[in-house]
Amino acid sequence: MKNSFRNGFHVLQPGFGPAAPAKTASDEVYPNAAHSYIAKEVAAKTFQDVNLCYQCGKCSAGCPVRDYMADSPNKVVRFVQLGLEQAALNSTTPWLCAGCLTCSTRCPNDFNLAKFMDAVREISIEKGVKTKEKEISSFHEAFLRQVRLFGRSYEAGLVADYKLNTLRLLQDVDSAPGMILKGKLSVLPHKVKDRKTIKNIFGKTTHKKKRNG
């Protein structure tokens, strides 16, 4: 704990436990909740206030990938409720989230947690925070590169691109050749005719790196 002088009062700043990534700079730890950049940004992207979540944990209890996460999904929401931006953006939980909507469907207070995860992930990209789940982020990048180029996902290209970027050259050898034999992996991409529109969409939506708001 450390003291800081704020608004004329000495405020005791709570420290957060070891489960929060070590990066959690203690400077960041003053909880300024709903006024924080991250809470506002999430609210804008998801059309919902993070304080809707009352931390019951039902989302985490039913999350299919919970066992692989260091921070439970509701804990990431808590980080944002507290304005702990670094903790939220450095957590791998949003990257591991499979977007299955189980949490959103069962949340007793109708908080759309899947959408929240999308928003946190997107903010971390905007802010240039590199996730430790490199494979997952590389996959998304590779996938979208195919779509940007061809308008559709080109599975052979995707696999090649992804493998080159992650250097996981051997992992899917068990399926790829089989797929080609079965005609499931076409050798050439299907291209969309109106690639101008696609290019345009990508051009206008690509994240420009934002500075800390």
Partner: protein, 297 residues
């Protein structure tokens, strides 16, 4: 809904042209036989899939909406999206643009076009549920008795409940109704709506194999001899990934995974290769009861 002789727009989605080739084959065969005309929208593009909405919300909206816009422009009021992920992307974007004018405006700017946002979206269960009693029943030439089917919805066919016309997102039974109409039995089991981890199929194969293995084991434990799916990603994870499971868990018991359309196709009398069933990794052997019927016929 799916009255005979109707024309629907058809949004295949990328997998339908590649890894889920047999899904498209069987869908088109079955639809043709039941008098449902599926008209592929011209020049459709990827819905953006998980990767877009997971990382770039505006991009995801624009990619999904582009296809609904094409449908609108091509005079198709209803779109059938056989892939659960595409289906989910389309209904989610549609709802967001309906509820939040600012999102609609943004999408319209990105597409440089105005969108009326009225296209209705159907998944394959929707398409056949209503038609199942009459159509599948009457067109049926094989009774699929002997199959004990575990109907697997996965996550995106039943969620979010507010956007999906399902009786109960926790205990749905629309797929069971269709399966029963083919004469097959359904089993009660626990993992009908658990996620297989679809999005991480390539990037975190370890997770997907774990999740899929649990699903498969539960189906087997409840006496299933086939798993029925209605999504290319579910199929990849449950069918193709069994090869890894076999390597990792020597005791792994295999179970064939059929697309819902393949099962319907079989009951309507198509052969396994017409439906692309021979493209699966886990071989599907028709139970003898069914084979005998065919012999008699």
């Amino acid at each position: 809904m799916a009255d005979a002789g109707l024309t629907y727009g058809y949004f295949p989605g990328c997998s339908q042209k590649g890894s889920a080739r047999e899904y498209e084959m069987s869908l088109l065969k079955v639809a043709g036989k039941l008098g449902i005309d599926l008209k592929e929208i011209d020049d459709w593009s990827c819905c953006g899939a998980t990767s877009a909405h997971a990382t770039n919300h505006r991009l995801a909206n624009a990619l999904a909406m582009r296809n609904m816009l094409l449908a609108e422009q091509q005079g198709l009021e209803t779109l059938v999206a056989p892939c659960a992920a595409c289906f989910n992307r389309l209904i989610t974007t549609k709802a967001e643009c309906r509820n939040h004018p600012e999102s609609k405006k943004d999408v319209e700017e990105l597409l440089s076009a105005s969108v009326s946002n009225t296209t209705s979206i159907l998944n394959v269960i929707d398409l056949f549920d209503k038609a199942s009693n009459g159509l599948i029943g009457s067109g049926r030439v094989r009774d699929m008795k002997g199959l004990k089917a575990a109907c697997y919805y996965g996550c995106l066919l039943v969620r979010p409940p507010e956007l999906i016309d399902t009786d109960d997102s926790e205990q749905p039974d629309s797929m069971e109704r269709i399966v029963k109409a083919t004469g097959a039995d359904v089993v009660e089991w626990n993992y009908r709506t658990e996620c297989c981890g679809a999005a991480h199929s390539i990037s975190r194969r370890d997770i997907v194999v774990d999740l899929s293995k649990r699903i498969i084991d539960d189906a087997l434990m409840h006496g299933a001899n086939v798993i029925i799916v209605a999504c290319p990603m579910c199929h990849t994870n449950l069918d193709m990934r069994q090869r890894v499971m076999r390597r990792m868990y020597p005791s792994h018991k295999e179970i064939p995974v059929l697309y819902l359309t393949e099962l319907i196709g079989l009951s309507l009398g198509f052969t396994e290769s017409e439906l692309g069933i021979d493209l699966h990794y886990i071989r599907f052997n028709m139970p003898n009861e069914i084979m005998n019927q065919t012999a008699q016929a």
